[in-house]
Symmetry: C2
């Protein structure tokens, strides 16, 4: 007999068959995205030229709390889901805390992160609607990897614009995407007008997520049967990620516990919302009092120091105007290793929930996240992605409070991915070559001033 159970799995029959759309249960609905030309609320049709139709509808759906997961998607989920819910006995011991720490281990997906949950869904809908080609951008590489695999499974051609500096610094990521059969282009490239414009002006431009988005969107708009896909920020992406929290809810029940605190790292909001929203519905509907904490980088503090305002989702201003916490679309985050969290704005749903105080946010400096990541690796054996280490660091903060107070709080965080492709970051940390980055208040104010004129 084992003394204590560490991992909880669901049988395939127990895996949820619907995603949870928190928009339907929110008292204060998110404000509508606006057409930047007319300033009119967006309709699904406005998104069709870029996104597939089903994702466009899901994006603006404020009626249906439960959306059926198509059988073909569930069939592919079954290759790696349920992911394990793990009781982190090793971490608890290392911290000497009375807290019960659990993590949902999304790093066991074949591509190494939670991103696959939405990539499969988006690729499936594209295929169903007769799309033959999909495009996207990738910075850290997790999303590009997930989409490359999902596209291959459904027989779609995938074109990924990878930020040039990442293309060169992370050759393993590029190789993985190419192994899945995707076409990977360093961005800016000469294959789009957006790319050409930049390279003509600035031949040595190293690329940015904003530029790569522009290239991917342009390719989608100018290619027949081609759609653009996105890995976070959008409501439909977060919807697909709720499979994480819905599984965790059942697994926590198997463990005989319910979380006092739920934590996710925060870039655009899809992994945070994915684990948090299914539990948050019990706060909204059943009087539970769980705390929800989004852990963002101190160098990109949109939730803790940004302003709630309509802003563009990209640097060039091609997207609809979104009501969100933002640092201004001109904000250029420092070059931290958690590349997946370097985004100026927060998703629309999360922004409304934060405004309504249904959740909290904390900002964490780079060195604290790596300290947490190394402690976790030694205690639990898994090298976390630098992004996920933000969630670990926030969990450790809460567990240490329990050590002081003696409270046996139940803490659940999402381990969104592993860091095996990010070992240069750990190398730099262990060699003492990483630093923290401050964001001057004046810089945020200046960016926000520009945003204020938009609506």
């Amino acid at each position: 007999m084992m003394k204590k159970q560490k991992r909880y799995f669901l049988t395939e029959e127990q895996i949820p068959t619907q995603w949870y759309n928190i928009q339907a249960d929110m008292t204060n609905k998110p404000l509508p995205p606006l057409n930047p030309a007319t300033k009119e609320p967006l309709k699904p049709e406005d998104l069709y030229p870029v996104f597939c139709e089903e994702c466009s509808r899901q994006e603006l759906d404020q009626e249906n709390a439960w959306i059926d997961i198509p059988e073909e998607v569930r069939d592919l989920y079954a290759y790696y889901r349920s992911t394990p819910l793990v009781r982190a006995y090793g971490l608890e011991k290392a911290l000497g805390t009375p807290a019960h720490i659990y993590f949902k281990n999304e790093s066991v997906s074949p591509v190494g992160s939670h991103k696959l949950n939405s990539a499969i869904a988006q690729a499936y809908y594209c295929k169903k609607e007769g799309v033959t080609n999909v495009t996207t951008e990738t910075g850290a590489g997790q999303w590009g990897t997930a989409l490359s695999y999902a596209a291959k499974v459904f027989g779609l051609e995938a074109a990924v614009y990878q930020v040039k500096i990442s293309y060169e610094q992370k050759p393993y990521r590029r190789s993985i995407m190419q192994t899945y059969g995707a076409q990977v282009t360093p961005s800016p490239s000469m294959s789009t007008r957006a790319g050409k414009d930049i390279l003509t002006r600035e031949p040595n431009n190293q690329g940015s997520l904003g530029t790569a988005i522009s290239e991917a969107v342009e390719l989608a708009k100018t290619t027949p049967n081609c759609k653009y896909t996105l890995g976070s920020v959008m409501n439909h992406v977060t919807l697909h990620q709720t499979i994480i929290g819905l599984e965790a809810e059942k697994q926590m029940e198997m463990a005989g516990e319910y979380p006092d605190i739920v934590i996710g790292c925060f870039g655009g909001g899809s992994n945070f919302g994915g684990i948090a929203f299914p539990f948050m519905r019990h706060n909204i509907k059943d009087g539970k009092t769980t705390r929800f904490i989004a852990a963002e980088p101190a160098s990109c503090p949109k939730l803790t120091r940004g302003k709630f305002h309509y802003d563009f989702g990209d640097v060039a201003g091609y997207t609809p105007l979104l009501p969100m916490y933002t640092l201004g679309h001109d904000f250029m985050p420092a070059n931290i290793h958690a590349g997946g969290l370097r985004y100026h704005g927060a998703g629309v749903i999360v922004s409304q929930l934060l405004k309504d105080k249904l959740m909290e946010a904390v900002d964490i400096k780079q060195l604290e996240t790596f300290e947490a990541g190394v402690l976790f690796a030694k205690a639990e054996g898994i090298i976390p992605a630098p992004e996920s280490s933000h969630a670990i660091a926030a969990a450790i903060r809460e567990a240490k409070k329990c050590t002081e107070t003696g409270e046996e709080k139940v803490i659940l965080f999402n381990l969104s991915g592993h860091g095996l492709i990010d070992m240069t970051a750990y190398d730099n940390y262990l060699a003492g070559n990483l630093q923290n980055y401050d964001v001057p208040e004046e810089l945020i104010e200046k960016n926000i001033d520009k945003v204020k004129g938009l609506v």
Copy 2:
């Protein structure tokens, strides 16, 4: 309701509590290892100066078929075991085969391979016997990674000699070991006499597994409370790996099938024996007729083209004389990417089983293994380690035979690890820069002639 189940897990209560020692059930026992000085059969005490005592006893145990897994080891196994047994529907579809293909997915271990199964056991026994420091060598890096983590868990200091060319070409592997807290030294180094001798003669020596073994053994012998650990070849390592096959046996039962063919890639024999031996006992004892296939690189063909003879386990001749299939201890395998399979000899048990025709072996060329690995990645989403791709290639060969004959054979192979740290290999393959290597018959004969004089 899902149409077809893809993955099978065991509950923690179902995880086997004993390892299986096939030596006890073999009609023809393996010949004894010999002391090279006296040519007398080895006793466990002869191994104590290098290995911990419990591993030394397990090494030579031909009596006990079942060895209890210590509770502390089972406790750590529970962090990642059971590993999933997966029905490879994607691969079956890609091949259009009527065969039922299953794989045991050891790549989900926190360190990315099966190596952890023995690293935990060896570190545990060392700790229990009062050892404070462990040493080892690593080539491809999978074993060094596993030992670094296991040592950390038990509070042991780990010193890993990493073959210099691997240290420089695989910096991610080095970083992972350092993140776990291990001291990693490129070999040859100036820290041992063996290393100094080589570097004095040849300052630019790029290292070899044989040299790294000499350094690790020397450090263990000259340091108080320090033992050497090995990741394959030895009987006790294969014993610890039988957890793979014992789990798979129960999981195949859940799937309602029994394998007609069991396949593992082959370096020293521990992952092959780990998945094969538990099923092989039913051939030996219960009249089953399962085929067991070891898949080795054509560039290192000890099972298919080597000779059964007493030989040294290392290049320098420091180890006992082992009765095994060998290419001669002077054989230098070509620099294929499956670094974990570049070893001149086969473990003692496997050698006896092959001699007695209880198993088969096939040799596979490098390009065929990468073709198989890329097909598998596209079909199942997991990038396999170049070593594991040998097993995949052998499974594909058998599945294609079924396509021709129409037989619905049940094929089980071990996916020993993922290849996320080996993406340069895939890069080279996709760019057309990899090649096959021939081994001239004269070279084997020359090496074997030298071995013939040993006993």
